[in-house]
């Protein structure tokens, strides 16, 4: 029993630098244990799901239970490839950032399934409202990597015209909504998008992602409220990677309950899923998408995962957590787990895997070279400076014309 009458309770993570990593509080239930209800289920009937953990892949790489989406080897390989590509892409972009070719970068290492598996369970025309850590969506939708790099470099081919910080991609064609620097804002916008789709009788749905840290913003609450009131056809993902820069998930309110539980208060069916399990993420997304598309409204999904690297290139995680923590994380690595599943199922081999890795590295290197030929933040071509006055409004008003003239650009 905790008494705080003699003090303010301030949550602390289990361990700090210099200490042994401690995940003893993390329960890892066996795969296949949680039942898959029909998509017509009411929120009240599956309240418990918010406190369970949906897992399909077990420790031996076997797919278990009724959430198993029974994907074709092709689909599995496509997923593996997209996750590997994401990781290879991240690796290169951090390297070029360290070389000073751009200002900033953010990896999603260890969380690749969260974006890739979900995207594959959606239709291409469904709309995504991501955060900065779902670059996997673009890669899973076969969006040209070189276009992403152009954005990171703010170069002459950057479709965002050099205006956004690296990784704040936007692609209307890929159904990937403009990433905002302001945490949480996309979540309630995604619900608005879904409301519009519903009003039009449009079959498309929207999907949003938010970090567990950012769930503390008001926008998160607005999103759940509007989604619940208007039964908006959307999927609301919470990526619980347990860290928000230096703050562990307890500071976001994860000590007393799960993040999936946030949905219970709104009568929104809420699932908690092993975010490093490609099959499980695919399965819950497909379930939620079917619900939304058939008029049963929103679903909230907590993806339990772990941010295996630093928050961004600006930060050094060893200042606030043991450097060995990532290794101790019990839910493993999404790439390794899917790879193993494919091998166990006889669709894949270590050799093929090595060959693919090499091929992807090559692909990334080639894209990188091409993109750099369009310029980097520090060198080479970029948009003409005069364009910085464009797009503030659809038509440039007189005062901006005057300012552009004054700028002499």
């Amino acid at each position: 029993m905790i008494r705080n009458s003699k003090g303010l309770h301030v949550p602390e993570p289990g361990c700090r630098p210099g200490e042994e990593p401690d995940f003893s509080h993390v329960e890892v239930p066996p795969a296949g244990e949680v039942v898959r209800p029909p998509v017509t289920v009411s929120a009240a009937e599956i309240r418990d799901h918010a406190f369970r953990l949906i897992r399909v892949l077990d420790d031996n790489g076997m797919a278990c239970g009724d959430w198993n989406p029974a994907l074709s080897p092709d689909m599995l390989l496509k997923g593996l490839r997209a996750m590997m590509l994401t990781r290879a892409y991240d690796a290169r972009m951090v390297r070029v950032q360290r070389q000073g070719k751009t200002s900033f970068y953010m990896k999603c290492t260890g969380e690749e399934a969260v974006a890739v598996a979900a995207t594959m369970a959606l239709r291409h025309e469904d709309m995504c409202f991501p955060t900065y850590r779902q670059q996997g969506i673009l890669l899973a939708r076969d969006w040209p990597m070189v276009d992403m790099m152009n954005q990171v470099y703010s170069n002459s081919q950057d479709r965002l015209k050099g205006r956004q910080m690296p990784v704040f991609y936007s692609s209307r064609e890929a159904g990937f909504f403009s990433i905002s620097g302001n945490l949480g804002t996309q979540y309630s916008q995604a619900v608005g998008w879904a409301m519009a789709a519903a009003a039009d009788g449009d079959e498309r749905i929207s999907t949003a992602w938010i970090g567990e840290g950012a769930t503390a913003e008001g926008d998160f609450h607005h999103a759940l409220t509007f989604a619940s009131v208007y039964r908006a056809p959307c999927i609301l993902n919470i990526v619980n990677n347990q860290w928000a820069i230096s703050s562990f998930s307890g500071i976001a309110g994860g000590e007393a309950t799960t993040f999936a539980a946030r949905g219970l208060g709104f009568g929104i069916p809420s699932l908690r899923v092993d975010g490093n399990d490609f099959l499980a993420v695919y399965a819950v997304t497909a379930w939620a998408a079917e619900r939304a598309r058939t008029g049963h409204g929103p679903t909230l999904i907590e993806l339990f995962t772990y941010r295996a690297e630093g928050h961004s290139t600006s930060d050094d995680p060893t200042r606030y957590r043991p450097s060995t923590e990532a290794g101790a994380w019990p839910l493993g690595d999404p790439l390794e787990r899917l790879k193993r599943h494919l091998i166990v199922a006889g669709h894949w081999s270590e050799e093929q895997h090595q060959a693919l890795a090499k091929e992807l590295d090559e692909e990334v290197r080639a894209a990188g070279k091409l993109s750099e030929s369009y310029g980097t933040l520090k060198e080479g071509d970029r948009w003409p400076a005069s364009t910085m006055f464009d797009d503030v409004y659809r038509d440039m008003p007189a005062h901006l014309v005057a300012q552009r003239r004054q700028a002499g650009v």
Partner: protein, 337 residues
């Protein structure tokens, strides 16, 4: 032509927009079945259906966010913030999102949304039903701000705002909803009947954003005003007998600088009037621009007549409100320099 009050003109603008463009969607607190606390959306739900005009939760941030999302989908949302004093919970979605969407996406997405909100004092609304926050939003690149002073402009500007592809904040001087108001709070209340600018076409027309209107010609001094203050300025000019030229800005951003400088170069004097608090109100920008562009024509400093730098106090509404007496004094000071 029919005569409309300002609230009827605003209602008519939305009715027309809903009728012409299937992508227009309207939502806000109490605006559906009930028709809005000021009746701006009266009967519109009954006429255009619950799918296109409906009540929203008490969540200004959520309302604007939903509008941004709908805008990204391809809709043209019009939302109501019940009182301008309650716009602050939506600040982040307005400033960081709606205003910057087109810019940050290189023109790939934008926010064709209109945010309507009753603003200003004069109805004993105390400090949370009287504010004039327009100045804050004029600082934000990417937003347009329109403020009508009469029924004709209200309808034409609101249709222009709805049809505009950029986010527009449309502040409605609530004290003018049912009649013109010159600041003489102790005289009988008037309604719009018989007022020139209350003749409002039934159908579609626009008053373009970015064009001011000279509401009074004069040679001695230029008064820059908008919303309720246009009527106060007119009254002050009549009462002092000063030959003031009065410009109704109608849109603060983009600003019709040409109309302003032309007038001030002619009169050599300028008084700026607004109801918002003084420090860093839009009057500061106007004064700064007038002296930048008309310095050598100016014979007196640009004066500002504004609300005081205090919250709007319930019992001292009329001591706070910059009425015709205060504007008149400023006019006299300025022309006598």
């Amino acid at each position: 032509m029919p005569t409309m009050s300002m609230i009827e003109a605003i209602n008519s603008a939305m009715d027309v927009a809903l009728g012409l463009d299937p992508d227009v969607m309207i939502f806000g607190q109490d605006i559906g079945y009930f028709g809005g606390v000021f009746r701006a959306t009266d009967k519109l739900q009954q006429r255009h259906g619950k799918q296109r005009i409906f009540d929203a939760p008490i969540s200004e941030g959520g309302i604007v966010a939903a509008a941004v999302g709908m805008g990204a989908y391809g809709k043209r949302p019009v939302v109501e913030i019940q009182f301008a004093d309650y716009i602050y919970p939506a600040t982040d979605q307005i400033i960081s999102e709606a205003a910057r969407m087109r810019y940050r996406t290189g023109g790939e997405w934008w926010s064709p949304i209109t945010i309507r909100s009753p603003y200003g004092g004069g109805i004993f609304g105390g400090q949370t039903h009287s504010q004039s926050p327009e100045g804050i939003f004029t600082h934000v690149a990417g937003l347009k701000i329109a403020i009508p002073s009469n029924p004709y402009d209200a309808k034409g500007l609101l249709i222009a705002a709805i049809e505009d592809d950029d986010p527009v904040l449309f502040f409605e001087p609530k004290r003018l909803y049912n009649g013109p108001f010159d600041g003489h709070h102790d005289r009988p209340v008037r309604n719009w009947a018989g007022h020139n600018d209350a003749e409002v076409p039934e159908g579609h027309y626009v008053v373009p954003l970015g064009k001011a209107r000279r509401v009074r010609e004069g040679g001695e001094v230029t008064i820059l005003a908008y919303g309720t203050m246009v009527h106060v300025a007119l009254c002050a000019a009549e009462e002092t007998g000063i030959d003031a030229e009065i410009i109704d800005l109608r849109t603060l951003v983009p600003l019709d600088l040409d109309s302003i400088t032309e007038s001030v170069r002619k009169t050599g004097r300028c008084v700026v009037v607004h109801e918002a608090t003084r420090t860093s109100g839009f009057g500061a920008e106007l004064a700064a621009q007038v002296q930048e562009h008309c310095f050598f024509a100016l014979e007196a400093p640009v004066e500002r007549v504004t609300g005081w730098d205090t919250p709007y106090p319930h019992a001292f509404e009329w001591e706070y409100f910059p009425g015709p007496a205060r504007v008149g004094e400023a006019l006299k000071r300025v022309v006598n320099i």
